[in-house]
């Protein structure tokens, strides 16, 4: 039932996933600025200096996306999308980290350590 080609495929793919995971886990560098990109505009917030949490509400096609930013990072807390991947991604705070809501076309990322920099 399980053939040798299957086992080779599994090993190769798991190795590739692990390698990419470590490549993207850009470092433990703490970021300074969070960039929130919505369908219409982009907001940049220097989150380290925030003293209280900030709620960003973005109107999208089927409702409202809510993102909370505080001095520890940023995260999606509400989205009208069906998958809820964005909310499940949790808080991001390190350089180059992303959280994305594809259906709502909203993304948040921490500036620094861009993907291009990682793949170079």
């Amino acid at each position: 039932m399980i053939k040798r080609a299957d086992i080779i495929l599994i090993i190769v793919l798991l190795a590739a996933a692990a390698a990419l995971f470590f490549a993207f886990d850009s470092s433990s560098d703490a970021g300074e600025q969070v960039i929130i990109t919505g369908p219409q505009n982009e907001v940049k917030i220097d989150f380290r200096s925030l003293t209280e949490e900030k709620r960003i509400e973005i109107e999208v096609e089927n409702g409202k996306v809510i993102i909370v930013v505080d001095s520890q990072g940023a995260q999606f807390v509400q989205s009208p999308c069906s998958g809820q991947q964005c909310v499940n991604m949790g808080k991001i705070s390190k350089k180059g980290q992303y959280a994305v809501c594809v259906p709502c076309r909203v993304q948040i990322r921490i500036s620094g350590g861009e993907l291009d920099g990682v793949t170079e």
Binding site: M1, D6, L9, L13, L14, G83, V102
Partner: protein, 166 residues
């Protein structure tokens, strides 16, 4: 024979749609909103026993169902992923020379399914979607193994029940 094939495809299409609806319930318990890909078992089975035409028809039925249930983006994702993975698994299952077993074919199906969705999300939101890449590959391995095992069990079971099904 033709009518038999059409009714059988319709039945499997309904099964795929039902499974994809059930799968949504798993999302809150899975990291990164991964889904187990159970409906892929149906398209793989169709590709094996009824041919590529039926597998593509079932993918289309499922995507239309997703369109009604979960909206345009989800339906396009389902259609893109489903079509690519149906074509690939049909090719591998029908090709006598393939060295892959059901598990390998399940993994390739899941991987191509996820890659085409990633391509689509790249088009919608840009490079940030690449962040999903490691988890996409990992879950393709886990879920592909699962669907491959289910497919293996299903084909064995149905062959015993009904000799006409190949």
């Amino acid at each position: 024979m033709k009518i038999r094939k059409i009714t059988y495809s319709a039945l499997l299409g309904a099964l795929a749609a039902g499974l994809s609806a059930i799968e949504v319930l798993f999302v809150p318990f899975m990291p990164f909103g991964a889904k187990p890909g159970l409906s892929n078992v149906v398209t793989m089975y169709a590709a094996k026993s009824l041919g590529i035409g039926s597998a593509l028809a079932i993918t289309l039925i499922k995507s239309l169902f997703v369109l009604v249930m979960r909206g345009t983006v989800a339906a396009l994702m389902s259609l893109a992923g489903g079509t690519v993975s149906a074509l690939a698994t049909a090719f591998l299952l029908k090709n006598g020379k393939t060295k892959m077993g059901y598990i390998g074919i399940g993994i390739i199906g899941a991987l191509l399914h996820n890659f085409s969705q990633l391509g689509l999300s790249f088009a919608i939101i840009g490079a940030a979607s690449l962040y999903y890449l490691p988890s996409i590959i990992f879950f393709a391995v886990v879920n592909g193994t699962l669907t491959g095992l289910i497919l293996f069990a299903t084909i064995g079971f149905l062959r015993k029940k009904d000799g006409r099904i190949q």
